[in-house]
């Protein structure tokens, strides 16, 4: 008999078993739908307030190609701002480091970077000498100097504006003080005029060239979109639900083991892959259904409740790929836990705790970019984090299928490791 018919029979059987387990169904569907709705609405206002953003601290990498008085002053004053953390990037080749930094921001490894051009101090002095005090209002022709502020498009728009204004003010203050030094014969940048005295102006020599990087990612979706509560929470809690299947799946698998059905199955002419596949296929379909329902909540229900709608029409291919990869990873993890745990209680306790921990580290409950750097680095180990970052790429950076291939690949590699361990464990049951 064709083993695929046996697989089909196993899939139908598993669907029947799942459909008759009300508690399991509630965990699989009610929990994520409830979380997606409640959390998206609850966090909408909090994430929307500029004051909230002002309390945050973001890391900014500075490449100081000038290394002169002006460059040093910019770095010092940036470091005095209480909402950014400055990391100065050492370099040997400015052009190469500059390109590398752009790539890091483009790929989301860094969220903010400021590139201070070479010879900035000399060029500023030259512009001020040419234009005189008037240069403070209007740079002489051809003497305007741009400092590139590279911004990850996933960074919230209000925070980007906040950082841009802050740097503009620093540049204005430095420019004014440098002008006073030059024109009054002093030699210190830290002259009597405090930087807080700088006032808004229309011109000047130095300016911030603030741009969300026009990357291949951004081009796919047109203008970069700021993440909304729905963009963060819909994929986040869908992923949590997908990975939480460790509870119902391990329960049914361990019950089969302890109640003898697995013994009976293994005495029958049924290949191991049919037994495993009989579990894999139904839960895979359920996972895709969970994701579809959660996305529908984000798209159609949240706006009815006063929330922002989640728009994802441009990213359907990527969503399908990431959802499938996350599901495969989650099922493989659940099978591994089911085979290593001795009792259903053990599997539930370990599986659920592990998933909640990985979810927390992976930025499911709190976006990872808001965490301290150490925790952000630890969070890189979380498969939920890989998937969540992939969804943010899709929703916020406008990424396409190709752009999330690496994250899907990482999830599948994780699944492969889990399946290898599960397979080894399954084989030892024969010994």
């Amino acid at each position: 008999m064709n083993p695929f018919l046996k697989l089909l029979a196993s899939v139908v059987k598993e669907f029947r078993v799942i459909a008759r387990d009300r508690a399991g169904l509630a965990l699989l569907f009610v929990m994520p739908l409830g979380f997606v709705t409640v959390m998206s609405l609850a966090l909408q206002d909090v994430l929307g307030q500029p004051e909230a953003a002002a309390r945050l601290r973001f890391s900014i990498v500075v490449l100081d190609g000038d290394a002169g008085l002006v460059g040093r002053a910019i770095v010092e004053e940036l470091a005095n701002l209480d909402f950014v953390r400055v990391t100065k990037l050492p370099f040997a080749d400015f052009q190469q480091s500059s390109a590398g930094l752009r790539e890091q921001v483009r790929t989301g490894q860094e969220r903010l970077a400021l590139i201070i051009p070479t010879d900035l101090s000399a060029r500023l002095d030259s512009a001020l000498a040419d234009g005189g005090p008037g240069a403070l209002f209007d740079a002489p022709a051809g003497k305007s100097i741009a400092l590139d502020l590279l911004v990850d498009p996933a960074l919230r728009a209000d925070f980007r504006l906040l950082v841009t204004i802050a740097i503009e003010r620093i540049l204005q203050g430095i420019e004014l003080r440098r002008a006073m030094t030059l024109f009054t014969g002093g030699d210190s940048l830290l002259a009597s005029v405090p930087n807080t005295a700088a006032t808004p102006r229309r011109g000047g020599v130095m300016r911030v060239n603030n741009r969300a990087l026009e990357t291949s990612l951004a081009r796919n979706a047109g203008p970069a979109i700021s993440p909304t509560s729905a963009q963060q929470n819909v994929p986040a809690y869908s992923l949590l639900a997908i990975f939480m299947l460790v509870v119902p799946l391990s329960q049914t698998f361990i019950k089969e083991r302890t109640q003898g059905s697995l013994t009976r199955l293994r005495s029958m002419p049924v290949p191991g892959w049919v037994i495993i596949g009989g579990k894999f296929v139904p839960y895979f379909i359920i996972n895709l259904l969970q994701m579809a329902l959660c996305l529908s909540i984000g798209r159609f229900v949240l706006p009815l409740l006063g929330g922002t709608a989640l728009r994802f029409e441009h990213a359907l291919g990527g969503i399908l790929l990431l959802s499938a990869a996350a599901s495969v990873a989650a099922i493989a993890f659940a099978l591994m836990v089911s085979l290593f745990a001795r009792t259903a209680e053990q599997a539930t306790a370990f599986g659920a705790t592990a998933i909640l921990l990985l979810a927390a580290l992976g930025g499911i409950m709190v976006p990872r970019m808001l965490m301290p750097p150490v925790l952000q680095k630890i969070g890189l180990v979380s498969p939920l984090g890989w998937a969540q970052d992939g969804f943010l790429d899709l929703f916020v950076r406008g990424a396409g299928v190709v752009d999330v291939l690496d994250r899907a690949g990482a999830l599948l590699a994780f699944a492969l490791v889990c399946m290898a361990l599960a397979g080894w464990r399954f084989a030892t049951l024969d010994k």
Binding site: L5, K6, T263, R264, P269, P271
Partner: protein, 332 residues
């Protein structure tokens, strides 16, 4: 087809579990005749379940072999190894009824039978025909659409048996099939097994209920610490009679030596004040034993003779009493 032909041949079967200090099975040689009921006895941990697991493709032997023969006379290797899971091999010749209720409680009787039948490669009319036959064997016609979890304990046991015969296997392996079953259902299971045997099905039966084995099995093997300590037909093994003595105090070593030396005694076992002597001539043995007791000034409080039961045989061979080990809590 004759009953003397072997359906299962076990040769030098050896198995030690990883980390185990003693082998679970040590050079086991057995033959199970076709169309017979074969009882496999042994105390807890003797190696019965290991043997059944290897026979049913669940575990792998370290060395030796178990082979099962099909109707065409072809022999198939058993044990968990490549090829077991293929249709048309040893797995199709064996039906396992585990001690646990090995089915899906939330599925109905019909759904369970259909599912396991499909896994045995049954389809269409053949699946329907075998499902009907299995339901009849379990006398579950009235519970066809009921969920398995809603059945009584006895009916669940019947379903467990019905699933084991869904593909009409020539060899049915039952591991303690009557544990926790009320007397009515137990009688039903034994009747059905007798019927299956008379229909040509070979049965391998492990049980702690020695009276069941005595009633049902034509031949049997006693296994202890991984070794076969007795193997033969029921008549051969129970041919000896026994003389039982109970002394007022623990008997001295001299008495035990003299009892063992009585010519008609084939075996002696003692436990505190109880003495059991297997004998070909019980009357002569009883007389000689009483004289020996008198010579050694030992007071006898009880002396009897009778046909050897499976229980005394088992006790004699293994030094263990099955019912004392808490293996089967349902035994009254």
């Amino acid at each position: 087809m004759t009953a003397s032909l072997a359906l299962v041949r076990i040769t030098a079967l050896t198995k030690t579990y990883p980390g185990g200090t003693h082998p679970a099975l040590s050079s086991v040689d057995l033959e199970i005749p076709e169309a017979s009921c074969f009882g496999l006895l042994g105390p807890n941990g003797a190696g019965k379940t290991t043997l059944v697991s290897i026979l049913c493709g669940i575990r792998r032997a370290d060395s030796g072999s178990i082979r099962v023969r099909d109707a065409a006379g072809r022999w198939f290797e058993c044990g968990a190894r490549a090829g077991w899971a293929r249709t048309g091999g040893a797995a199709d010749l064996i039906g396992l009824v585990p001690q646990e209720l090995a089915f899906y409680p939330t599925l109905t009787v019909r759904e369970n039978l259909h599912y396991f039948g499909t896994l045995h490669g049954l389809r269409g009319a053949r699946l329907r025909e075998r499902t009907d036959a299995s339901v009849a064997i379990g006398r579950l016609e009235a519970h066809w659409g009921q969920r398995a979890e809603a059945l009584s304990g006895g009916l669940q046991r019947r379903l467990n048996l019905a699933i084991g015969v869904i593909h009409a296997p020539p060899l049915l392996v039952l591991d303690e099939p009557t544990v926790g079953v009320d007397s009515q259902s137990r009688r039903f299971v034994l009747e059905e097994l007798a019927r299956l045997k008379s229909g040509g099905t070979t049965i391998l039966y492990t049980s702690h209920y020695l009276d069941e084995v005595e009633q049902l099995c034509d031949s049997l093997a006693v296994i202890d610490q991984g070794r076969v300590v007795a193997h033969g037909s029921r008549e051969d093994l129970l041919r000896d009679s026994v003389v039982t003595l109970r002394t007022a105090a623990r008997p001295p070593a001299a008495l035990l030596e003299q009892l063992a030396a009585i010519p008609s005694v084939t075996a002696l076992h003692h436990d505190e004040t109880a003495l059991t002597l297997a004998s070909r001539d019980p009357a002569a043995t009883l007389a000689a034993a009483m004289q020996a007791a008198q010579r050694n000034h030992v007071t006898l409080v009880e002396a009897s003779m009778g046909r050897r039961s499976l229980e005394t045989l088992f006790f004699h061979l293994t030094g263990a009493q099955l019912r004392d080990e808490g293996v089967d809590e349902s035994i009254p």
